[in-house]
């Protein structure tokens, strides 16, 4: 559905997006992560044919970005929620949506039906005749999402749709995205929220001007492999630590009454370590194995590229 090949954008001397090559399948939710200034918004703007590319190429639904006919075709089949929602504050919620429906040549009945459906799903139907300017941030964000959907686009671009939202509104928006996923819409989601990406995305890409990695959330976690064993003891002492040091465990650290080390195969390695601790007189309370989280992966990649 979305294919980019060495897509690059430069603003003067500054390279905002560097040779981005990625592929998003039909009906997939793609999470685009990256620090501030990584080029996420710039990428969305190029894909929505809002700004030109400097080099490389990209197709959306088979149409090429960067030429006039392709751009027009692409703009017909996408919906965009920009990072600044950009509602007409002096129009009612209903009129904001109705105007966009008319732009896409939706019939009157179709507009009425879609407006009602989306405003009800997002809990804004009661407020349809209020001016958008009187809405709270969260309500505006939801209204902007409804606006992007008014013509039933096949592809939806969301630029940080849950930024600035309270946990409850963020949850409504996330659930709404999952609802759209059920309807087989292709969703390109810029976000800073790793937890959100992990929960709702089929595939994740981490960008820092260059694309650092793509894959399913599970793939990414496994890519960094490293699991950790955390052993909690009654008390940690030198004797226990020196016993463990003999085992040449990786990244052995102790803090308070906890000892942590890296393992690649916990089933095999933990047993020996625990035995050594017990033989050295340690009272082992609990043994936990934790995988590296998406956050670890993210931080590692972003720091590496900094």
């Amino acid at each position: 559905m979305i294919d980019t090949d060495n897509l690059t954008k430069k603003f003067g001397d500054l390279t905002a997006v560097d040779n981005l090559t990625l592929h998003v399948n039909d009906g997939e939710v793609f999470g685009f992560l990256g620090p501030n200034g990584a080029g996420k918004t710039t990428t969305i703007r190029m894909l929505c044919c809002l700004i030109s590319k400097t080099s490389g190429s990209a197709t959306i639904g088979g149409y090429e970005i960067g030429n006039k006919e392709g751009s027009l075709k692409i703009r017909k089949m996408i919906g965009l929620v920009p990072d600044n929602v950009g509602l007409s504050e002096h129009l009612t919620a209903y009129d904001n949506l109705d105007f966009y429906g008319k732009i896409y040549d939706c019939s009157e009945s179709q507009r009425k039906e879609n407006i009602k459906r989306f405003l009800e799903m997002l809990g804004l139907w009661e407020k349809r005749n209020d001016l958008a300017g009187t809405f709270s941030k969260g309500m505006k964000q939801k209204l902007a999402i409804a606006r992007a959907l008014i013509h039933d686009p096949q592809i939806l671009f969301l630029d940080e749709p849950t930024a600035n939202l309270d946990p409850e509104s963020a949850k409504t928006v996330r659930e709404f995205i999952l609802e759209l996923k059920k309807q087989k819409k292709t969703i390109f989601l810029n976000t800073h929220n790793l937890d959100e990406a992990q929960r709702i995305c089929d595939k994740i890409g981490i960008l820092n001007t260059k694309l650092r990695v793509t894959g399913t959330p599970q793939d990414l976690e496994e890519a960094v492999k490293g699991k950790k064993t955390i052993v909690s003891l009654e008390q940690v002492n030198e004797k226990i630590l020196s016993a463990l040091k003999k085992l040449s465990l990786k990244n052995l650290t102790s803090e308070g009454n906890k000892i942590t080390f890296d393992v690649s195969d916990p089933d095999k390695e933990n047993w020996g370590a625990v035995e050594a601790m017990v033989l050295a007189g340690g009272h082992v309370n609990t043994v936990n194995v934790v995988g590296s989280s998406l956050e670890d992966v993210y931080l590692k990649l972003v720091r590496e590229s900094a």
């Binding site: 603003f11 703007r45 929505c48 044919c49 809002l50 700004i51 030109s52 027009l72 703009r75 017909k76 996408i78 965009l80 929620v81 920009p82 600044n84 929602v85 950009g86 509602l87 007409s88 504050e89 002096h90 129009l91 009129d95 105007f99 966009y100 008319k102 732009i103 896409y104 001016l131 902007a144 606006r147 992007a148």
Partner: protein
């Protein structure tokens, strides 16, 4: 370029203007002044001296009054266009609009129409009130109804639209560079100076505001319109709007 789409953009603006008192005022004030004040001045001076508006001087005076319609027609769009474009900038509402299948030209034309049409309606309505008012106060002196006449016809139907278009295009350009309505307006006002200068030159007799004079001015403004059209079109492009507009 689909006119219906430009009309869509303009009608959304009209809906917004209806909720904006200052826009409504800025549309109404000038026409009210020109259409009511001038007949009132004439009436007043006639009652006091009876001399200022002797039949011989009267037509010249009336032609000078008429030229204020051009200044008014150039003034009104400044407020509307700068509001509607800078307003969108402040609301950041151009980005989602630009992501739709509307073309830049359709959006620009819509924005222009939303400034041109209210101006024309207001100025033409004012001109009717003006003509009736002036005729009522001068028919006794002149012995005939001065308005309507072909000079005012040329002024209203040829010069006025060209002046409105000039002002609208100029506003678009100024608005693309301005961050708030006030600064857009203060730069916008500059477009009135050449018109005021024209008026003063006619007062001292260097140029004449008869039909020929008006047509020459219209020709000059038309040339300016064409130049401004290309500049505004260059300023009103997706990429330009999203990356260079502040």
């Amino acid at each position: 370029m689909r006119l219906s789409k430009a009309w869509l953009v303009a009608s959304r603006d009209f809906k917004i203007f209806r909720r904006q008192k200052n826009i409504l005022y800025s549309i109404i004030v000038f026409p009210v002044i020109t259409s009511v004040l001038f007949p009132a001045i004439l009436e007043f001076t006639q009652q006091r001296s009876g001399g200022l508006s002797a039949p011989g001087v009267l037509p010249n005076l009336l032609n000078s009054f008429s030229f204020f319609f051009i200044i008014g027609a150039a003034y009104i769009p400044l407020g509307i266009a700068s509001y509607s474009i800078v307003g969108e900038k402040i609301e950041k509402s151009l980005e989602p609009l630009l992501a739709t299948p509307l073309t830049d030209g359709e959006i620009l034309l819509g924005k222009a129409l939303s400034a041109v049409l209210p101006t024309l309606v207001a100025m033409y309505a004012a001109s009717i009130v003006f003509m009736v008012g002036i005729d009522a106060t001068t028919v006794g002196k002149l012995g005939y109804n001065y308005f309507p006449n072909s000079t005012f016809g040329v002024l209203l139907l040829i010069l006025l639209p060209v002046a409105v278009v000039m002002s609208v295009l100029y506003s678009v350009i100024v608005s693309s560079r301005a961050n708030d309505v006030r600064s857009a307006n203060s730069y916008g006002i500059l477009i009135l100076f050449p018109l005021l200068a024209t008026y003063l030159l006619s007062e001292v007799g260097i140029i004449s505001l008869d039909i020929n004079g008006l047509l020459i001015i219209a020709g000059i403004l038309l040339a300016i319109d064409i130049a401004l059209y290309f500049v505004s079109k260059a300023a009103f492009q997706r990429e330009e709007i999203l990356t260079k507009w502040k």
